[in-house]
């Protein structure tokens, strides 16, 4: 059984705030317009129905848990994803015999809920954090019942649709840039110090080493 609830994410850059550079030469007008819009505009639900939307939020909180953030500070992954689906933004590729994003999401969410019932006898929403994690883990390792998936390949939906879209949204947010120490916007001013362990004064300062990284690939089937 997963010990997910015991894991706590700690950023190596607790004092860094990329938005503190807002009025410095690291930000230009066009970037300010784009980032201001991202921060201020939380889209209203348009594409998914209410139940799907609640489920999506629970799934997003499992793949990218943000326990340390208040509701106001939380990166609203479900809202931004729903907007993408509503706008039917495509990324240039439609895999042959694979469902479109608009078809895949409702079906994938329903299948996740069905797996929750099959594994724990309850819907995903009423599961604990550990149980939720274990359901998604089963999906990623293929230990699931193909029946629920109706044409979706569980692992490929999980990685190439769900996780991919989640990280594209999450790591586009300044709060995420802060926690990984990314320099963020850098025009017209870029950087001068490029060498190892070198940092310009306008870059994030590492206050502690990143936590030990869990080895990847070990739970590969």
């Amino acid at each position: 059984m997963s010990r997910e609830h015991l894991k706590r994410f700690r950023t190596p850059y607790p004092d860094y705030n990329v938005l503190a550079k807002w009025d410095t030469p690291s930000f230009d007008d066009v970037t300010r317009r784009v980032i201001a819009h991202r921060l201020e505009h939380v889209p209203k639900r348009r594409f998914l129905d209410e139940a799907q939307y609640a489920l999506l939020r629970a799934v997003m909180d499992t793949v990218l848990p943000q326990p340390e953030r208040s509701e106001a500070d939380r990166i609203p992954l479900e809202a931004l994803l729903d907007e993408k689906l509503a706008m039917n933004l495509t990324d240039g590729t439609r895999h042959k015999d694979v469902l479109t994003q608009r078809e895949a999401w409702p079906r994938g969410l329903a299948a996740i809920d069905a797996e929750a019932h099959a594994m724990h006898g309850r819907g995903f929403l009423s599961l604990s954090a550990d149980e939720r994690h274990s359901v998604l883990e089963a999906i990623d390792t293929g230990r699931v019942d193909g029946e629920h998936w109706k044409g979706l390949v569980p692992k490929s939906f999980f990685r190439h649709v769900l996780l991919k879209q989640a990280v594209k949204i999450y790591y586009s947010h300044p709060a995420a840039w802060n926690e990984i120490g990314f320099g963020g916007p850098a025009a017209p001013r870029g950087y001068l110090r490029l060498g190892p362990d070198m940092r310009d004064p306008w870059e994030a300062e590492e206050k502690r080493r990143p936590q030990e990284a869990e080895d990847l690939s070990e739970d590969e089937t």
Binding site: T31, K96, G190, M198
Partner: protein
């Protein structure tokens, strides 16, 4: 999303006798305009490495030229944000159906849609082919020979490198002697030093990557400030994309550029020869008459356009008597190894691939595969790296955030690996239609056993190298990059689509000039070879003009050969 940044995607900018001045905010340069009903000498479809170079050179030689691009005409200084999500506007995001055993990803991965083409968001690695690759069938026993001699290409590479002020090392460690690069090499970033350290530990040569980013001022463009957003569009104009090099040259020489203009069909007359192009702009379909038409839309759109232009005389599509239009599409394998370094790397700074190793392009011993590969240091932006991480390894939950918190300690090595030309890898038209009513392309791609052996060799070598450089917690990722082929050039009408001048064997006033001409892929990034080849084709077309071998009017009777 994009409307917040600029109106370029919705409003024609190259119109009313002017076009954007890409070096200034809000300013314009004069642009000559041509009448749709007067046949222009050349209608060129696409403004990337093929189209813009040809447009500039042909206009400079006195031809009347109109170049079309489906995408927007940006001014980088005011339109490009330092933001990955916003800059998706540079990609060709129209759907393509992708199949085969190893289906390709399009969009951000290999296809641009804007004036300047894919180079507006390319990574600026500016390498030359190994000379033997131009005769890979006769010299190395695989693939197809190019209908050109490497020495001729070598001359054109030098011109291309000077036109783009490539910043590179004084002495390049592989291949025959080449002159100095026009601009001095860039300062190495920490991520490049990881490659250097690894190469030295493994006993192979490495060098600073020749890079299409200014290391010193050029005209109104400032040198690179190491902001590291190159792959999503450079907002300072240090990057020498087609948009800030050959496109302004084309305009200054009297070419017209039509932005937001999607060409749907090349028209042919009763004699089977090209008469002009149908294009969609400003809400309706229009027609431009032309004496010669050039397809420069890259490896998916060029075949798509030729196939969609089928007519009574050309039932299988234009230039397709060989049946090869759309076939032998190639990509580069893009396998990578990533690891955590003890020191802070902060790979978001500087052009992302500042060090390169071409060892396995030039050494043939000890390989269990045909072809070669180069590899470079890496510097992906956050969503780019996160996507690579989750798609290949699937971490999620606190582990995912934790992994991403190593972002500033990560380093990576990634290959540009040659794949073999295979006729089964191809572009076709599907039965589905896009917004404009054009058939959506369907692409089939599978790696060969040889391609997989090459990738496995590279993974093994690079893993040992990254470990030797101090990397830990290594993991591998697999993907592809770049497109080549689909309209092969050659010496024989039975086995190629066009001749050495890019002229189609079937229709004497129809040319192809872009990355789709590649008979083989080579183990380096393709754009310098496309630019050099386009410069060469331009000279050949100009010479043909002088000899009176070009179509003088749409109805002229200049039939050649077939």
């Amino acid at each position: 999303m994009s409307a917040i940044a600029s109106d370029a995607e919705f409003t024609l900018r190259a119109t009313k006798g002017r076009a954007p001045n890409v070096f200034r905010r809000g300013e314009w340069v004069p642009m000559r305009e041509y009448d749709e009903n007067e046949p222009v000498d050349f209608a060129i479809v696409g403004t990337g490495c093929g189209g813009s170079v040809l447009a500039a050179r042909l206009a400079e030689a006195g031809f009347s030229v109109v170049a079309f691009d489906a995408g927007a005409f940006y001014r980088p200084l005011e339109d490009f944000a330092s933001d990955e999500a916003e800059q998706e506007k540079l990609y060709w995001l129209d759907e393509r159906i992708s199949g085969g055993n190893d289906p390709l990803e399009f969009g951000s991965n290999n296809s641009g849609k804007c004036v300047g083409g894919t180079t507006v968001h390319f990574q600026m690695v500016a390498l030359r082919f190994r000379p033997e690759w131009f005769k890979s069938r006769t010299a190395l026993g695989y693939g197809h020979d190019w209908p050109v001699d490497w020495r001729e290409m070598w001359r054109y590479y030098a011109i291309a490198e000077n036109d783009m002020k490539i910043a590179g090392p004084v002495r390049y460690p592989w291949g025959p002697k080449r002159g100095r690069y026009p601009y001095r090499e860039h300062e190495l970033s920490a991520s490049a030093l990881v490659l250097a350290r690894g190469a030295e530990a493994m006993g192979v040569k490495w060098t600073t990557t020749p890079t299409a980013s200014l290391s010193a001022p050029r005209g109104e463009a400032h040198p690179c400030v190491n902001r590291g957003f190159c792959k999503i569009g450079c907002a300072t104009n240090a990057k020498q994309s087609m948009l800030v090099t050959y496109v302004p040259r084309a305009l200054a020489a009297g070419a017209e550029i039509r932005d937001l203009a999607m060409v749907g069909r090349i028209e042919t007359g009763p004699d089977g020869r090209a008469t002009g192009v149908h294009y969609h702009r400003d809400g309706k379909w229009r027609f431009q008459k032309a004496k010669n038409v050039v397809a420069s839309g890259y490896s998916i759109e060029t075949p798509r356009l030729l196939l969609n232009s089928a007519s009574e005389k050309h039932p299988d599509g234009l230039a397709n008597s060989s049946g090869l239009v759309g076939k032998a599409l190639m990509a580069h394998t893009n396998n990578a190894v990533w690891g955590i370094m003890n020191e802070e790397i902060r790979w978001y700074k500087g052009p992302p691939s500042l060090a390169v190793c071409e060892h396995w392009n030039y050494v043939d011993e000890g390989k269990d595969f045909d072809g070669g590969y180069s590899f470079m240091s890496q510097g992906p932006l956050p969503t780019d790296f996160a996507t690579t991480l989750v798609e290949n390894e699937g971490p999620f939950g606190a582990d995912l955030r934790n992994w991403m918190a190593h972002y500033n300690h990560m380093a990576g090595l990634k290959i540009v690996g040659e794949t073999m030309p295979n006729d089964d890898n191809r572009v076709e038209l599907s039965d589905e239609k896009d917004r404009l009513g054009l058939p959506i392309p369907k692409v089939t791609f599978s790696l060969s056993d040889n391609d997989k052996r090459l990738a496995a060799h590279a993974e093994d070598f690079m893993s040992r190298m990254l470990e030797a450089a101090g990397g830990s917690n290594l993991f591998h990722t697999a993907s592809t990059a770049h497109l080549m082929g689909g309209c092969r050039m050659g010496d024989d009408p039975a086995t190629s689509v066009v001749d050495a001048s890019g002229r189609s064997w079937d229709i004497d006033n129809l040319f192809v000039c872009d990355g789709s001409l590649f008979p083989t892929a080579g183990g380096v990034n393709p754009s310098m070879t496309i630019v050099a080849n386009s410069l060469r084709i331009a000279d050949r077309i100009i010479a043909m003009g002088k000899r009176g071998e070009l179509s003088q009017s749409a109805a002229a009777d200049g039939k050649r050969g077939a």
